[in-house]
């Protein structure tokens, strides 16, 4: 299963997600608004929520909100506490650390994180 071809040598930077040993190209970095997310579909059907923060750093976590089961985390608001970026679920507003996937409002809950890079 290979990614749609998009040469990384071209001028516009793109966002890529780890897919096994390969990098899967999602879209041009410019498609992401700082402070907001988008959802991406992986070749195997999984959904990933992608974000860039104000400083332009990219993050990727699972798109599923573990509290409600809905695939909506990409539509939450991004913020930061003590320098750690988070997204607040748009449904019941629990916050998730974008770097670790840990829920900041409930120690017992976390979401998977995905390796991501802008190249």
């Amino acid at each position: 299963m290979t990614a749609p071809t998009m040469e990384t040598t071209q001028q516009t930077p793109v966002v890529q997600l780890a897919d096994g040993n390969d990098w899967f190209t999602v879209c041009a970095l410019s498609r992401l608004t700082p402070g907001r997310g988008v959802a991406a579909l992986l070749p195997d059907g999984r959904q990933v929520a992608l974000f860039v923060d104000r400083a332009g750093r990219a993050y990727a976590i699972d798109n599923r909100d573990p509290f409600t089961g809905a695939y909506v985390l990409s539509r939450g608001l991004v913020g930061s506490v003590e320098g750690r970026p988070f997204v607040a679920s748009p449904l019941l507003k629990q916050r998730f650390d974008l770097a670790t996937g840990a829920c900041l409002d409930d120690d017992e809950v976390s979401v998977p994180v995905h390796a991501v890079r802008a190249a």
Partner: protein
């Protein structure tokens, strides 16, 4: 099927605890073990759990909420990953069948045998079914497990009448459920009143009236003699002890529960005469290696407890004992507060007044179904009480049990306006007063914390039935920091002034210049972003900023609802509410709504705001739907925004024989004037054509009622959670005076209110209240009126329909896709199932940890 990790060599060498029964108490016991580090993961104990039911522990107390839309998964008590993390070995659908105490083994239905060092029985109760003929006919049920509910729900599809045998707590819950399933419902109770255990005669009478007024039929003082069945073997009726009979298609037995002590009996453990496994204060049975906890245990005080809180205490006790510490369960309080069929019922302490020489203080109002009784000892101590219909005082009265009340007891039961009630603040409580009875947490323990989440996390208080949360909130320190959030030390109205006077048009600029030191340069948070976004949007025309909420940085500030200009629903789909000013709509437009809903398969519902909501649109469908709506002349209804919702109208003078002004025209004019106005919270309005008030204007933020001479303007009304009738601001206004006054009022509110503060709370909070607001907006005491009017004029001139702008802009449309890399793939998790000729979200599909796999190519939906 075992869900957890199989034993490794390391765990098999550890002392083994076998738990029989994974109900509420069994799960609490596992949590108590985990808290004490008695787990395989910690390398201290192997724990095997045998669970009879096909699913792990769930909240039986909230069972009935399944019928209110909670899924079995919502009811689960087990955090995801809990079993795995601690290495608990859970065997679902595999009950213990026999015990060999000599060999210390348990044999499960699967045939597996588990050796134990310590055995904990937490087998709960079974529903008692009286031995009446016909009790096993098809159509007879009990009410204890999720499986029971699923079976009742299924059977009720073909039934029209249902009868519940038993008018106790569970019987009434079951009756409520049957009623909710659309059955004509009867309750048959042998005792002369409902809930004989919890409430006294007076309370039972108040309850009876309320329950009958809900359309249930109650038969008290009669027993069930036989369940009759038709030729096909299915239930068709019941004969009762008074000789009468009752036709019914379905019977639910709820005549009490009995401890499940059979396993214990079979292996010779001591059981009580009337059932229950006899345990001592440590919850140890007659065999020191075996414990019993929860509803199956006969506690050392000679009682079997049918409530969850005492069971939790037993679970803690046993975990503590196993950990080598001292602990004892010597008995518990039987206080309960419930909401039965929407009626509050509470009883606490010596509710029946059994103590010698005690006196009752009773207040009963059968008309409104309120009954309150306090039992007072000879020396004035509060011994107990019963509250029916209004149990607000339960949270403070129960912990005062055993103390002398600081005020005369009658003042506590009388309604407001009749010399009472005196509200006893929780600050009057002693430190050892138990605030949360579910988790037995005292006031002292709660006061060690400063926030509700912290209290919940550290003490578990408030995480059970939730009835103590209000009191906990009152006990916590009221924050001194009035700042909006962790990012800003200013209030919303201070930020409004900063933005207005410094003409700041970007959130980042505001954060970096006026944020708290640590927050500058950061990403803000979910509280201040939409708040500042809203302030900038309210002031946009005046600041010269773009008022369009999806422009540039503004797009990153909006809650998801504003971001997609639609309301997010529980399954990730959206609802659509076109504006229907004043509730007036032409047949042509109605047809367009019907056609759009039909073509996109949307669920439609008339809202409480005189318009139509269409539910179940996927993100990628929103622009297509709105293109059709905009073409037909519709605009955004801003159901998603903190902004003007609706101006409801009554039909008014034009048609109504009583009307004195044209209320419809006024409502439409006002709705068109204030549409799109971003504010601290939503704004609602209504215009009634005469004092009969059919538009319910006094329940609105600004409500207008016609008089023979013009209009009366009322402000600060609210429905919702804390209803408040609006106060009269000014009388007999002309059309122009009315509009000018509303302009000023709204702009003054927007300028000074806190985030998410409706006009009602704002009016009650600000210094001087209504009089001050009247001084400012009517008498111009601050000299602000001209500016307020100008701000509103700017808004009116700057208004553009957000949806029309969006569908005409390809760049903006690009964000209305589910997947950035697969714009044509619809969201596979947004699925629907049929209900009452329409659709509803398919929530089952969201329940699993992973969605059924769908690939980029093969995506399809609906």
């Amino acid at each position: 099927m075992p869900v957890s990790t199989p034993p490794t060599d390391r765990t098999s060498a550890l002392p083994t605890i076998v738990v029989v029964g994974h109900g509420m108490v069994g799960q609490r016991f596992l949590e108590a073990l985990a808290e004490r580090g008695l787990t395989a993961a910690a390398g201290t104990a192997r724990v095997v759990v045998l669970c009879e039911e096909p699913r792990a522990a769930y909240d039986r107390v909230q069972l009935t909420s399944y019928f209110a839309g909670r899924t079995p998964d919502d009811l689960s008590l087990v955090e995801p990953g809990f079993m795995e993390r601690h290495g608990f070995e859970l065997h679902l659908g595999n009950p213990a069948e026999s015990l060999d105490r000599e060999a210390r083994t348990v044999t499960a239905r699967s045939g597996e045998t588990f050796a134990y060092d310590t055995l904990v029985l937490a087998t709960g109760s079974y529903p008692f079914v009286p031995p009446v003929p016909g009790k096993d006919a098809e159509g007879c049920f009990v009410y204890r497990t999720i499986e029971d509910l699923l079976a009742i729900e299924e059977y009720a599809r073909t039934a029209t009448t249902g009868a519940v045998v038993g008018g106790g707590l569970l019987g009434l819950e079951a009756a409520g459920a049957l009623k909710g399933l659309g059955l004509d419902t009867h309750v048959v109770e042998f005792a002369p009143r409902l809930m004989p255990v919890q409430v006294d005669e007076g309370g039972g009478a108040a309850l009876l009236r309320t329950i009958e007024s809900m359309g249930l039929t109650v038969h008290t003082g009669v027993g069930t003699q036989e369940v009759t069945a038709g030729e096909d073997g299915t239930v068709n009726g019941m004969s009762l002890s008074d000789g009468s009979s009752l036709a019914t298609d379905l019977v639910v037995f709820s005549a009490g529960v009995r401890p499940r002590d059979q396993l214990a009996r079979d292996c010779g453990l001591a059981v009580g005469q009337r059932g229950g496994i006899i345990v001592d204060e440590e919850c140890r049975t007659s065999d020191p290696a075996v414990f019993a906890i929860g509803e199956c245990a006969l506690a050392s005080d000679g009682r079997v407890y049918g409530l969850v809180a005492p069971g939790y205490e037993m679970a803690q006790t046993v975990a503590e004992v196993i950990a080598g510490k001292e602990a004892a369960f010597t008995g518990a309080d039987l206080s309960t507060k419930l909401k039965l069929l929407g009626v509050d019922v509470a009883s606490f302490g010596d509710a029946h007044g059994t103590a010698e020489g005690c006196l009752d203080v009773v207040y009963a109002d059968s008309r409104s179904g309120v009954y309150k009784k306090l039992v007072i000892g000879r020396d004035g101590t509060l011994l107990g009480g019963v509250l029916v219909g209004d149990a607000d005082q339960y949270g403070t009265l129960r912990p005062m049990t055993g103390t002398v009340l600081p005020v005369a007891p009658e003042q506590l039961v009388l309604p407001a306006g009749a010399g009472g009630p005196v509200t006893l603040g929780p600050s009057a409580l002693p430190d050892d007063a138990v605030i949360c009875s579910c988790h037995n947490v005292t006031k002292g323990a709660i006061c060690e914390h400063t926030t509700l989440p912290e209290v919940k996390k550290c003490t578990k208080a408030g995480t059970g039935c939730g009835s103590c949360v209000k009191v906990i909130g009152q006990l916590l320190p009221q924050s001194q920091d009035k700042g909006l959030c962790g990012c800003f030390s200013y209030t919303r109205s201070e930020l409004y002034e900063i933005v207005r006077t410094l003409r700041i048009t970007s959130y980042a600029e505001l954060l970096d210049s006026h944020g708290r030191e640590a927050a500058r340069g950061g990403d803000g948070c979910e509280i201040c972003k939409p708040t500042v976004g809203s302030i900038i949007a309210s002031l946009a025309p005046t600041l010269g900023a773009s008022g369009y909420v999806l422009d540039g940085e503004q797009a990153a500030l909006q809650d998801t609802n504003d971001h997609f200009l639609a309301n997010l629903q529980r399954n990730g789909s959206y609802s659509i509410v076109p504006r229907i000013p004043g509730g007036e709509i032409t047949p042509e437009k109605l047809i367009v709504i019907g056609e759009v809903a039909r073509d996109f398969g949307l669920y439609t519902k008339i809202t409480g705001g005189q318009r139509i909501d269409m539910f179940g649109a996927r993100v990628d469908q929103l622009p297509l739907i709105w293109t059709r709506l905009v073409d037909a002349g519709f605009e955004s209804g801003h159901a998603y925004g903190k902004s003007l919702r609706t101006v409801k109208s009554c039909v008014g003078q034009t048609w109504c024989r009583y009307g004195v002004q044209d209320s419809v025209k006024m409502a439409i004019d006002l709705e068109l004037r204030y549409r799109g106005l971003r504010s601290p919270h939503k704004l609602k309005s209504a215009v009634s054509g005469c004092a009969r008030e059919c538009a319910e204007a006094r329940g609105k933020d600004f409500g207008i009622i016609a008089t023979a001479n013009g209009w009366n303007l009322y402000v600060g009304g609210n429905g919702g959670a804390e209803p408040r009738h609006a106060d009269l601001l000014a009388q007999d206004l002309s059309d122009a005076e009315l509009v000018r006054l509303i302009d000023r009022f709204l702009m003054f509110y927007i300028r000074t209110a806190d985030r998410l503060e409706r006009t009602s709370t704002w009016l009650d909070r600000i210094e001087g209240g209504l009089d001050h607001v009247r001084d400012v907006v009517v008498h111009d005491s601050l000299g602000l009126c001209e500016e307020l009017e100008r701000l509103m004029a700017d808004h009116v001139a700057g208004y553009r329909d957000e949806w029309a702008e969006t569908i005409n802009d390809p760049d903006r449309l690009r964000r209305f896709v589910t997947f950035v890399n697969a714009p044509d793939a619809p969201d596979p998790s947004v699925r629907f199932v049929p209900e009452r000729d329409q659709v509803k979200p398919d929530l089952d599909i969201l329940a699993g940890p992973v969605l059924a796999v769908r690939t980029l190519e093969g995506t399809s939906s609906r």
